[in-house]
């Protein structure tokens, strides 16, 4: 896919921009016209430069394409081929077993299935919570006030802070006996929680941490969306006597659909991939109650060193991410039409 460095076919119709025509479309006199007028006056160097300059559409992306192919394309196909093999722990014997690994992952692996459901639960719960919280915050912040820039940046800190470090601090705060979160809970009269140490509370706790991390991003996108809304529908609604609630559900929400889907798309991709926080706080436990697909992939490949089976798990995990993303991208295209 990447090696196709040239302009795409859908560009054929565009002749208005100043880009050089692809070599296979001779534009006749027009192309002569567009030649840059530095006019290399012969000489090998000048001609080489002219050659590069005329084929810039291939030259510029070439290094990046090579890097991506080498670092991502090659490992990808290597993973596919590994998923068809059995590899021993010392990585000295590779036996071809066909689709055996993949079939086992898809049909006979209860642990994979459980990881799939936990990942889905974790992702859907995070996204819902993030959307509601971010929407409330964006609505509150959708006005002009002094210090908007600084406050917006403060809200961004959870997004940029090192996940390893914040996970460690969350772990300390969620400590069941002396952690400060339980102190707060008891202070307002609620029963203490086991947080990530409890079988039932572990995923909700992780959802909360992921939400804390992701809300700022969603809020920024929704806020940008809110600020770009046209004012006319709101004026019309006010004249017609619509309540604030009606205004929100009947005008704001439908108009924001595009921004919402974009935010959810990016958060879904990130949430499906969450590794650091879960690995550091629970490593999949207690039991396997927080073992997501990413954790399970890591365990099979790099704790059990079952590289063949691990590759099969990773491959299926990857396909799941791509399918969910593709669905959301379709949705987004629909939302913007």
């Amino acid at each position: 896919m990447q090696q196709k460095a040239g302009p795409n076919s859908d560009q054929t119709g565009q002749t208005s921009d100043s880009s050089p025509e692809p070599p296979f479309e001779s534009g006749g006199a027009r192309q002569e016209d567009q030649k840059p007028r530095y006019a290399p006056s012969g000489g090998l160097l000048g001609r080489a430069f002219a050659l590069i300059d005329r084929n810039l559409a291939y030259v510029l992306p070439a290094p990046a394409a090579i890097v991506i192919l080498l670092l991502m394309g090659y490992p990808f196909f290597y993973t596919v081929s590994l998923s068809l093999q059995r590899v021993n722990v010392t990585m000295t014997r590779f036996t071809f077993v066909g689709a055996e690994n993949l079939l086992e992952v898809l049909t006979a692996d209860a642990r994979f299935l459980s990881a799939f459901w936990i990942t889905l639960y974790f992702t859907v719960a995070s996204l819902m919570l993030e959307l509601v919280l971010a929407m409330i915050m964006a609505l509150v912040m959708n006005r002009t006030f002094r210090g908007l820039g600084v406050i917006r940046t403060l809200f961004l800190l959870p997004l940029v802070a090192t996940p390893t470090a914040t996970s460690v601090i969350w772990l300390i705060m969620m400590e069941p006996s002396i952690g400060i979160l339980n102190y707060f809970l008891e202070a307002v009269g609620l029963p203490p929680s086991l947080w990530v140490a409890g079988e039932r509370s572990v995923v909700p706790s992780l959802v909360w941490i992921n939400t804390w991390h992701g809300v700022p991003f969603v809020m920024l996108i929704l806020l940008a969306g809110l600020r770009s809304l046209p004012t006319e529908p709101f004026e019309a609604a006010r004249i017609d006597g619509a309540s604030k609630l009606q205004e929100f559900f009947l005008i704001t929400l439908p108009l924001l659909k595009g921004a919402i889907v974009v935010a959810m798309l990016f958060r879904a991709i990130d949430t499906l991939k969450v590794f650091d926080a879960i690995w550091i706080m629970t490593a999949g436990g207690p039991g396997r109650r927080s073992e997501t697909l990413h954790i399970y992939s890591y365990l099979t490949a790099f704790e059990f060193y079952d590289l063949g089976y691990g590759s099969a798990v990773i491959l299926v995990f990857m396909v799941i991410i791509l399918v969910i993303s593709a669905v959301l991208i379709r949705l987004r295209q629909r939302a913007w039409l």
Partner: protein, 282 residues
Amino acid sequence: MNRPYLKPMGMRKTRQIQDFIFWIILSIFLVFFLFIFFWMFVSSFKPNLLIVSDPPVWFFIPTLAHYGEVFARNPFARYLFNSLTIAVSSVGLSLVVGLPAAYSIAKYKQDGLALALLVVRMLPGITFLVPLFIVYKRLGLLDTHAGIVITHILTVLPLIMWVMIGFFEDVPSELLDAALIDGCSQLGTMIRVMIPLSLPGITAVAILSFISSWNNFIFVLILGGSKTMTLPLAVYNFLTYGQVNWGALCAAATVVTLPVLLLALVVQRFLAGGLTMGAIKG
């Protein structure tokens, strides 16, 4: 509402009340989202005896003992150096390779390349890690700086390209046309017109990708070791090896997070735009 001239005094009063409520709600949000940083910072100066006290102690005489432990008893200075060199070199290399490519994708509308990039951005790092692990083991690249930098390019390069495509598309093409008409070459247009015009965007994306490399954990967890230990892995090891010392853990976490938080505050003007641009334009 529509006739403010009827009761101006009352209007001003409700306005003030609204402002007051607004700031209260905003403060609640801020405390809610930022408390963890406050707690991390405070605990890193708290004497060990007070850290584990219940109810929590809010006022105490600060101690630097935890930072002493972090820097004197552990080579944290070296971890810091590792984190810094790895982040700077992977961002630098990715900029050199990524900027021309992003420019080309934006200018020549190479949507196929953009799509490939999107797919790469979606995939988790672990997709590439098993083969890289095998190859690295054979080539002796495990636990080397070069090896870690290469893997960081995996995440940094797509990020840089993705954000910069959006940024380059926003530069009006008339400016480029003008340079071409004045006799500038295509390459010259990019170097002399596009890059200088996009400097704010490039700064933003460089900082963003620096943060992303700085925060990275899984690559160095799998492919790194004692020689390439970066700060996130060092903090993780603090947690898993030996007895857990909460004060030192908080100090270590502060050391990792503080540069990122300061960087975010310093470049706040660029940050919000950079973070969302890739998403909104996409």
